[in-house]
């Protein structure tokens, strides 16, 4: 049976690569982003929405359930980053970051879990960051939004465990995508230096952890946070 995967933030970066990867494995992929989709494939559906818009998220998940009858996997990939000293961070920026990163993860987790609990199977993968574990200066708000996701991941993993749904999180190191292109080079070099393995993360590294979390055999793995590069809390 074809697996049905919902991935948020599929217009570019890691989300797009993951969507294309799972399509190449023969999965049905449902994606979304604020702009039009960039993937053309008969097994791909795209929804244009803001992940923190409750009505639109509910509508998308119900439409996906109606068409594919199930959703096996949810990757809460959509995210925005911002580097700034907290003293000079506008309140609106904080709201935007929490809207996309935390509220978006909450809404999709809630709505997709409703589908998963009926089918008594589900795999949810949330996204955190090594900046959360490292308490990186300059990333207070971004890391706080991801810290919220970590706690949320571990708590809801208990709440949905009776329905055979697992919830885990991956904490990537910097990967060379749009998300970090505005970050000064020396800051990135400092960060890489804090890792046990001092290099950029790659798409392959992320895919490897996600593949592990979503594997049918990983049904005893839940509430876990895996950071790449040898970072730990």
């Amino acid at each position: 049976m074809k697996k049905v995967i919902l991935i948020t933030g599929t217009r570019k970066g890691i989300g797009k690569e993951l969507a294309e990867y799972y399509l190449s494995l023969g999965c049905n992929v449902i994606g979304c982003s604020r702009g039009p989709g960039t993937i053309v494939n008969s097994d791909y559906r795209h929804y244009e929405l803001d992940v923190s818009n409750e009505k639109d998220v509910v509508k998308m998940v119900r439409a996906a359930k109606k068409e594919f009858e199930r959703i096996d996997i949810l990757l809460n990939n959509a995210g925005i980053a911002s580097m700034n000293h907290f003293l000079t961070t506008p309140y609106q920026t904080v709201q935007n970051i929490f809207n996309t990163n935390f509220f978006g993860t909450f809404l999709f987790s809630r709505e997709v879990s409703k589908v998963m609990m009926r089918q008594k199977f589900g795999r949810i993968v949330n996204y955190t960051t090594v900046a959360s574990a490292l308490r990186l200066e300059g990333e207070a708000i971004y890391a706080a939004s991801k810290g919220a996701i970590e706690n949320f991941t571990q708590t809801i993993s208990k709440e949905v465990a009776p329905y055979n749904i697992t919830v885990n999180a991956i904490g990537p190191t910097p990967v060379e995508t749009d998300l970090i292109k505005a970050v000064p080079k020396d800051k990135i070099a400092d960060l890489l230096d804090k890792q046990a393995i001092k290099r950029f993360g790659t798409f392959e590294d992320i895919k490897n952890v996600i593949d592990f979390f979503i594997d049918d055999k990983s049904n005893f793995i839940t509430g876990q946070i895996i950071y790449l590069g040898g970072i730990h809390n």
């Binding site: 409750e54 009505k55 509910v58 509508k59 119900r62 409703k114 609990m117 009926r118 009776p162």
Partner: protein
């Protein structure tokens, strides 16, 4: 509309009870107690009822409703206490 909503709630309860096997839910009527006090549902069963109902009501009335909204959670008397109160509550949401 009210009769249709009640009908859906009762159908969903009957389906749900195939799993729960509670005597109190064998023949649900508008007076059947659901959650809180002597209600037949525990919190996990209530979650199942809410999610099943959201889907069925949304399909039937072509309206993507969310039952566990702020108003439901803050009302002094819970709309989830019995079939009748839930029916009235859903009708109110649909008419908004």
């Amino acid at each position: 509309m009210k009769n249709k909503i009640e009908e859906i709630i009762i159908e969903v309860l009957i389906e749900l009870n195939e799993e729960l096997e509670k005597d109190a839910l064998n023949n649900p009527t508008k007076d059947t107690k659901l959650y809180g006090g002597s209600g037949a549902l525990d919190s996990l069963a209530l979650v199942s009822l809410i999610t099943d109902l959201e889907e069925r009501i949304s399909d039937e009335f072509d309206n993507d409703i969310i039952l566990a909204d702020e108003k439901a959670m803050s009302q002094r008397t819970s709309p989830f206490r019995n079939v009748e109160s839930l029916t009235i509550y859903i009708q109110k949401i649909l008419e908004e």
